[in-house]
Subunit: 175 residues, 2 copies
Amino acid sequence: MQTVYIVSGPAGVGKSTTSSRLVSVLKNSAYISGDDVSRMHINGRQKPWESKLELSLIWNNILSLTQNFILNGIDVVIDYVTFPDEAYWLKDKLKGLTENIVYVVLWTDHETLLKRDQLRLPEHQMGERCLILIEEFKESGFKDIHLLDTSQTNADAIHLVIEEIVNNKQYRLED
Amino acid sequence: MQTVYIVSGPAGVGKSTTSSRLVSVLKNSAYISGDDVSRMHINGRQKPWESKLELSLIWNNILSLTQNFILNGIDVVIDYVTFPDEAYWLKDKLKGLTENIVYVVLWTDHETLLKRDQLRLPEHQMGERCLILIEEFKESGFKDIHLLDTSQTNADAIHLVIEEIVNNKQYRLED
Protein backbone atom coordinates (compact mmCIF):
# COMPACT_ATOMS: atom_id res chain seq x y z
CA MET A 1 0.00 0.00 0.00
CA GLN A 2 1.37 3.43 -0.95
CA THR A 3 2.11 6.15 1.56
CA VAL A 4 1.15 9.81 1.34
CA TYR A 5 3.46 12.12 3.30
CA ILE A 6 2.05 15.54 4.12
CA VAL A 7 4.92 17.86 5.04
CA SER A 8 3.35 20.90 6.70
CA GLY A 9 4.32 23.74 9.00
CA PRO A 10 4.55 27.53 8.85
CA ALA A 11 6.36 29.31 6.00
CA GLY A 12 10.14 29.23 6.32
CA VAL A 13 10.28 26.08 8.43
CA GLY A 14 12.00 24.03 5.71
CA LYS A 15 9.09 22.20 4.06
CA SER A 16 10.57 22.24 0.54
CA THR A 17 14.06 21.15 1.59
CA THR A 18 12.66 18.35 3.74
CA SER A 19 10.16 17.25 1.07
CA SER A 20 12.77 17.15 -1.71
CA ARG A 21 15.05 15.04 0.42
CA LEU A 22 12.21 12.76 1.51
CA VAL A 23 10.99 12.16 -2.04
CA SER A 24 14.55 11.29 -3.11
CA VAL A 25 14.88 8.42 -0.59
CA LEU A 26 11.61 6.78 -1.68
CA LYS A 27 11.87 4.19 -4.44
CA ASN A 28 8.92 5.25 -6.60
CA SER A 29 7.80 8.71 -5.62
CA ALA A 30 6.11 11.95 -6.65
CA TYR A 31 6.52 15.45 -5.29
CA ILE A 32 3.48 17.73 -5.20
CA SER A 33 4.22 21.33 -4.28
CA GLY A 34 1.00 22.98 -3.12
CA ASP A 35 2.45 26.36 -4.05
CA ASP A 36 3.16 25.19 -7.62
CA VAL A 37 -0.35 23.74 -7.91
CA SER A 38 -1.76 27.00 -6.57
CA ARG A 39 0.22 29.06 -9.10
CA MET A 40 -1.26 27.15 -12.05
CA HIS A 41 -4.30 29.42 -11.68
CA ILE A 42 -2.99 32.58 -13.37
CA ASN A 43 -5.75 35.13 -13.98
CA GLY A 44 -8.67 35.38 -11.56
CA ARG A 45 -6.70 33.78 -8.74
CA GLN A 46 -7.61 34.78 -5.18
CA LYS A 47 -5.30 34.49 -2.18
CA PRO A 48 -6.00 30.99 -0.83
CA TRP A 49 -5.98 32.23 2.77
CA GLU A 50 -8.68 34.75 1.90
CA SER A 51 -10.83 32.62 -0.43
CA LYS A 52 -12.37 29.28 0.53
CA LEU A 53 -13.13 28.61 -3.14
CA GLU A 54 -9.50 29.04 -4.15
CA LEU A 55 -8.28 26.86 -1.28
CA SER A 56 -10.82 24.20 -2.17
CA LEU A 57 -9.66 24.24 -5.82
CA ILE A 58 -6.05 23.78 -4.72
CA TRP A 59 -6.92 20.86 -2.44
CA ASN A 60 -9.05 19.19 -5.10
CA ASN A 61 -6.12 19.46 -7.51
CA ILE A 62 -3.72 18.02 -4.92
CA LEU A 63 -6.21 15.22 -4.21
CA SER A 64 -6.65 14.31 -7.90
CA LEU A 65 -2.90 14.19 -8.50
CA THR A 66 -2.38 12.11 -5.36
CA GLN A 67 -5.09 9.63 -6.41
CA ASN A 68 -3.53 9.19 -9.85
CA PHE A 69 -0.06 8.66 -8.41
CA ILE A 70 -1.28 6.12 -5.84
CA LEU A 71 -3.20 4.23 -8.52
CA ASN A 72 0.13 3.93 -10.35
CA GLY A 73 1.91 2.54 -7.28
CA ILE A 74 3.72 5.78 -6.50
CA ASP A 75 4.30 7.22 -3.00
CA VAL A 76 3.42 10.90 -2.72
CA VAL A 77 5.05 13.76 -0.81
CA ILE A 78 2.87 16.85 -0.44
CA ASP A 79 4.71 20.05 0.43
CA TYR A 80 2.14 22.61 1.56
CA VAL A 81 0.86 24.59 4.54
CA THR A 82 -1.68 21.98 5.67
CA PHE A 83 -3.92 22.34 8.70
CA PRO A 84 -5.23 19.25 10.54
CA ASP A 85 -8.74 19.52 9.07
CA GLU A 86 -7.23 19.50 5.57
CA ALA A 87 -5.05 16.48 6.40
CA TYR A 88 -8.10 14.59 7.73
CA TRP A 89 -10.14 15.62 4.66
CA LEU A 90 -7.43 14.18 2.42
CA LYS A 91 -7.24 10.97 4.47
CA ASP A 92 -11.00 10.60 4.20
CA LYS A 93 -11.00 11.15 0.41
CA LEU A 94 -8.22 8.58 -0.04
CA LYS A 95 -10.06 5.81 1.81
CA GLY A 96 -10.07 2.66 -0.26
CA LEU A 97 -6.88 3.71 -2.03
CA THR A 98 -4.56 3.89 0.97
CA GLU A 99 -4.72 4.16 4.75
CA ASN A 100 -1.10 5.26 5.11
CA ILE A 101 -1.13 9.00 5.63
CA VAL A 102 1.83 10.56 7.39
CA TYR A 103 1.22 14.09 8.69
CA VAL A 104 4.25 16.04 9.88
CA VAL A 105 4.11 19.63 11.10
CA LEU A 106 7.66 20.98 10.99
CA TRP A 107 8.45 23.54 13.65
CA THR A 108 11.26 25.87 14.59
CA ASP A 109 11.81 29.12 16.49
CA HIS A 110 10.37 32.48 15.32
CA GLU A 111 13.74 34.01 14.65
CA THR A 112 14.75 31.29 12.19
CA LEU A 113 11.40 31.53 10.35
CA LEU A 114 11.71 35.27 9.82
CA LYS A 115 15.37 35.02 8.83
CA ARG A 116 14.58 32.38 6.18
CA ASP A 117 11.63 34.40 4.89
CA GLN A 118 13.94 37.32 4.24
CA LEU A 119 16.21 35.08 2.15
CA ARG A 120 13.39 34.46 -0.33
CA LEU A 121 12.80 36.41 -3.53
CA PRO A 122 10.86 39.59 -2.62
CA GLU A 123 7.74 38.36 -4.47
CA HIS A 124 7.77 35.13 -2.43
CA GLN A 125 8.31 36.72 0.98
CA MET A 126 5.45 36.23 3.42
CA GLY A 127 6.46 38.89 5.97
CA GLU A 128 3.82 39.27 8.68
CA ARG A 129 1.88 36.35 7.28
CA CYS A 130 4.68 34.13 8.68
CA LEU A 131 3.79 35.10 12.23
CA ILE A 132 0.06 34.86 11.60
CA LEU A 133 0.60 31.31 10.30
CA ILE A 134 2.41 30.33 13.49
CA GLU A 135 -0.58 31.49 15.54
CA GLU A 136 -3.00 29.75 13.19
CA PHE A 137 -1.10 26.49 13.64
CA LYS A 138 -1.09 26.87 17.41
CA GLU A 139 -4.86 27.36 17.36
CA SER A 140 -5.58 24.61 14.81
CA GLY A 141 -5.76 21.93 17.47
CA PHE A 142 -3.32 19.47 15.91
CA LYS A 143 -1.90 16.81 18.17
CA ASP A 144 1.63 17.37 19.45
CA ILE A 145 2.64 13.93 18.19
CA HIS A 146 2.62 15.38 14.65
CA LEU A 147 5.06 18.12 15.59
CA LEU A 148 8.66 17.75 14.46
CA ASP A 149 10.85 20.45 15.97
CA THR A 150 13.98 21.06 13.89
CA SER A 151 15.31 24.08 15.80
CA GLN A 152 18.12 21.93 17.27
CA THR A 153 18.87 20.15 13.98
CA ASN A 154 21.50 21.68 11.73
CA ALA A 155 21.34 21.41 7.94
CA ASP A 156 23.73 18.46 7.53
CA ALA A 157 21.64 16.35 9.90
CA ILE A 158 18.58 16.47 7.66
CA HIS A 159 18.90 12.71 7.01
CA LEU A 160 17.94 12.19 10.68
CA VAL A 161 14.75 14.20 10.10
CA ILE A 162 13.96 12.06 7.04
CA GLU A 163 14.57 8.82 8.98
CA GLU A 164 12.27 10.09 11.71
CA ILE A 165 9.48 10.89 9.24
CA VAL A 166 9.75 7.54 7.45
CA ASN A 167 10.19 5.28 10.49
CA ASN A 168 8.49 6.86 13.49
CA LYS A 169 4.89 5.62 13.53
CA GLN A 170 3.73 8.55 15.70
CA TYR A 171 3.31 10.77 12.63
CA ARG A 172 0.75 8.44 10.99
CA LEU A 173 -2.68 10.02 10.87
CA GLU A 174 -5.24 7.91 12.74
CA ASP A 175 -9.02 8.29 12.56
CA MET B 1 -18.85 27.23 -21.24
CA GLN B 2 -15.10 27.14 -20.58
CA THR B 3 -12.50 26.59 -23.26
CA VAL B 4 -9.52 24.25 -23.15
CA TYR B 5 -6.62 25.33 -25.38
CA ILE B 6 -4.11 22.61 -26.25
CA VAL B 7 -0.92 24.27 -27.48
CA SER B 8 1.11 21.53 -29.16
CA GLY B 9 3.92 21.15 -31.65
CA PRO B 10 7.49 19.82 -31.68
CA ALA B 11 10.05 20.88 -29.07
CA GLY B 12 11.48 24.36 -29.66
CA VAL B 13 8.51 25.67 -31.62
CA GLY B 14 7.51 28.20 -28.93
CA LYS B 15 4.78 26.36 -26.99
CA SER B 16 5.68 27.86 -23.61
CA THR B 17 6.00 31.43 -24.84
CA THR B 18 2.72 31.18 -26.75
CA SER B 19 0.91 29.46 -23.86
CA SER B 20 2.06 32.03 -21.28
CA ARG B 21 0.89 34.85 -23.48
CA LEU B 22 -2.41 33.13 -24.25
CA VAL B 23 -3.19 32.44 -20.59
CA SER B 24 -2.48 36.08 -19.74
CA VAL B 25 -5.14 37.43 -22.15
CA LEU B 26 -7.88 35.17 -20.76
CA LYS B 27 -9.94 36.57 -17.89
CA ASN B 28 -9.99 33.56 -15.59
CA SER B 29 -7.35 31.08 -16.64
CA ALA B 30 -5.01 28.30 -15.65
CA TYR B 31 -1.75 27.18 -17.19
CA ILE B 32 -0.88 23.47 -17.18
CA SER B 33 2.64 22.66 -18.30
CA GLY B 34 2.78 18.99 -19.31
CA ASP B 35 6.52 18.99 -18.64
CA ASP B 36 5.99 20.27 -15.08
CA VAL B 37 3.27 17.68 -14.48
CA SER B 38 5.59 15.00 -15.86
CA ARG B 39 8.45 16.08 -13.57
CA MET B 40 6.31 15.65 -10.43
CA HIS B 41 7.15 11.95 -10.71
CA ILE B 42 10.68 11.94 -9.26
CA ASN B 43 11.96 8.41 -8.58
CA GLY B 44 10.83 5.54 -10.79
CA ARG B 45 9.96 7.85 -13.66
CA GLN B 46 10.25 6.45 -17.20
CA LYS B 47 10.70 8.54 -20.33
CA PRO B 48 7.12 9.24 -21.45
CA TRP B 49 8.02 8.61 -25.10
CA GLU B 50 9.29 5.15 -24.15
CA SER B 51 6.65 4.15 -21.59
CA LYS B 52 2.92 4.06 -22.28
CA LEU B 53 2.25 3.80 -18.53
CA GLU B 54 4.18 6.99 -17.81
CA LEU B 55 2.48 8.86 -20.65
CA SER B 56 -0.91 7.66 -19.47
CA LEU B 57 -0.16 8.87 -15.91
CA ILE B 58 0.79 12.31 -17.24
CA TRP B 59 -2.38 12.58 -19.31
CA ASN B 60 -4.57 11.44 -16.44
CA ASN B 61 -2.98 14.12 -14.26
CA ILE B 62 -3.52 16.77 -16.95
CA LEU B 63 -7.13 15.61 -17.35
CA SER B 64 -7.87 15.73 -13.60
CA LEU B 65 -6.43 19.24 -13.26
CA THR B 66 -8.35 20.39 -16.34
CA GLN B 67 -11.63 18.98 -14.97
CA ASN B 68 -11.16 20.75 -11.63
CA PHE B 69 -10.36 24.07 -13.30
CA ILE B 70 -13.35 23.86 -15.67
CA LEU B 71 -15.66 23.00 -12.76
CA ASN B 72 -14.46 26.25 -11.16
CA GLY B 73 -15.23 28.30 -14.28
CA ILE B 74 -11.61 28.60 -15.35
CA ASP B 75 -10.29 28.38 -18.93
CA VAL B 76 -7.32 26.07 -19.32
CA VAL B 77 -4.19 26.32 -21.46
CA ILE B 78 -2.27 23.04 -21.84
CA ASP B 79 1.34 23.40 -22.97
CA TYR B 80 2.56 19.96 -24.04
CA VAL B 81 3.64 17.85 -27.00
CA THR B 82 0.16 16.54 -27.83
CA PHE B 83 -0.63 14.22 -30.71
CA PRO B 84 -4.10 14.15 -32.31
CA ASP B 85 -5.17 10.91 -30.59
CA GLU B 86 -4.33 12.47 -27.21
CA ALA B 87 -6.27 15.64 -28.04
CA TYR B 88 -9.31 13.58 -29.07
CA TRP B 89 -8.98 11.42 -25.91
CA LEU B 90 -9.05 14.60 -23.81
CA LYS B 91 -12.03 15.97 -25.73
CA ASP B 92 -13.88 12.70 -25.17
CA LYS B 93 -13.10 12.66 -21.41
CA LEU B 94 -14.30 16.26 -21.04
CA LYS B 95 -17.71 15.61 -22.64
CA GLY B 96 -20.45 16.98 -20.40
CA LEU B 97 -18.07 19.56 -18.94
CA THR B 98 -17.19 21.47 -22.09
CA GLU B 99 -17.26 21.03 -25.86
CA ASN B 100 -14.84 23.86 -26.53
CA ILE B 101 -11.48 22.30 -27.21
CA VAL B 102 -8.99 24.28 -29.26
CA TYR B 103 -6.11 22.24 -30.68
CA VAL B 104 -3.20 24.16 -32.17
CA VAL B 105 -0.07 22.54 -33.55
CA LEU B 106 2.60 25.23 -33.76
CA TRP B 107 5.06 24.79 -36.58
CA THR B 108 8.25 26.38 -37.82
CA ASP B 109 11.31 25.47 -39.89
CA HIS B 110 13.88 22.82 -38.79
CA GLU B 111 16.70 25.31 -38.43
CA THR B 112 14.79 27.45 -35.91
CA LEU B 113 13.80 24.38 -33.87
CA LEU B 114 17.38 23.16 -33.54
CA LYS B 115 18.70 26.64 -32.79
CA ARG B 116 16.17 27.10 -29.98
CA ASP B 117 16.91 23.65 -28.58
CA GLN B 118 20.57 24.61 -28.23
CA LEU B 119 19.60 27.68 -26.21
CA ARG B 120 18.07 25.47 -23.50
CA LEU B 121 19.85 24.28 -20.37
CA PRO B 122 21.91 21.18 -21.30
CA GLU B 123 19.66 18.91 -19.19
CA HIS B 124 16.57 20.18 -21.04
CA GLN B 125 18.00 19.86 -24.57
CA MET B 126 16.21 17.35 -26.75
CA GLY B 127 18.87 17.05 -29.51
CA GLU B 128 17.95 14.38 -32.05
CA ARG B 129 14.58 13.87 -30.37
CA CYS B 130 13.60 17.27 -31.87
CA LEU B 131 13.86 15.89 -35.38
CA ILE B 132 12.16 12.62 -34.48
CA LEU B 133 9.26 14.63 -33.04
CA ILE B 134 8.85 16.52 -36.29
CA GLU B 135 8.58 13.23 -38.17
CA GLU B 136 6.17 11.83 -35.58
CA PHE B 137 3.94 14.86 -36.01
CA LYS B 138 4.01 14.55 -39.79
CA GLU B 139 2.94 10.91 -39.50
CA SER B 140 0.33 11.48 -36.78
CA GLY B 141 -2.38 12.29 -39.29
CA PHE B 142 -3.54 15.58 -37.79
CA LYS B 143 -5.57 17.84 -40.01
CA ASP B 144 -3.72 20.78 -41.58
CA ILE B 145 -6.38 23.16 -40.23
CA HIS B 146 -4.80 22.73 -36.77
CA LEU B 147 -1.39 23.79 -38.01
CA LEU B 148 -0.19 27.28 -37.13
CA ASP B 149 3.05 28.12 -38.90
CA THR B 150 5.01 30.84 -37.09
CA SER B 151 8.16 30.74 -39.20
CA GLN B 152 7.23 34.10 -40.76
CA THR B 153 6.13 35.67 -37.45
CA ASN B 154 8.75 37.54 -35.49
CA ALA B 155 8.72 37.66 -31.70
CA ASP B 156 7.01 41.06 -31.31
CA ALA B 157 4.07 39.91 -33.43
CA ILE B 158 3.11 37.15 -31.00
CA HIS B 159 -0.15 39.00 -30.21
CA LEU B 160 -1.27 38.18 -33.75
CA VAL B 161 -0.68 34.48 -33.05
CA ILE B 162 -2.73 34.77 -29.85
CA GLU B 163 -5.59 36.54 -31.67
CA GLU B 164 -5.55 33.81 -34.29
CA ILE B 165 -5.76 31.04 -31.67
CA VAL B 166 -8.59 32.73 -29.75
CA ASN B 167 -10.69 33.91 -32.69
CA ASN B 168 -10.15 31.58 -35.61
CA LYS B 169 -12.72 28.78 -35.36
CA GLN B 170 -10.67 26.46 -37.57
CA TYR B 171 -8.59 25.31 -34.60
CA ARG B 172 -11.62 23.98 -32.68
CA LEU B 173 -11.54 20.21 -32.38
CA GLU B 174 -14.64 18.65 -33.96
CA ASP B 175 -15.79 15.05 -33.54
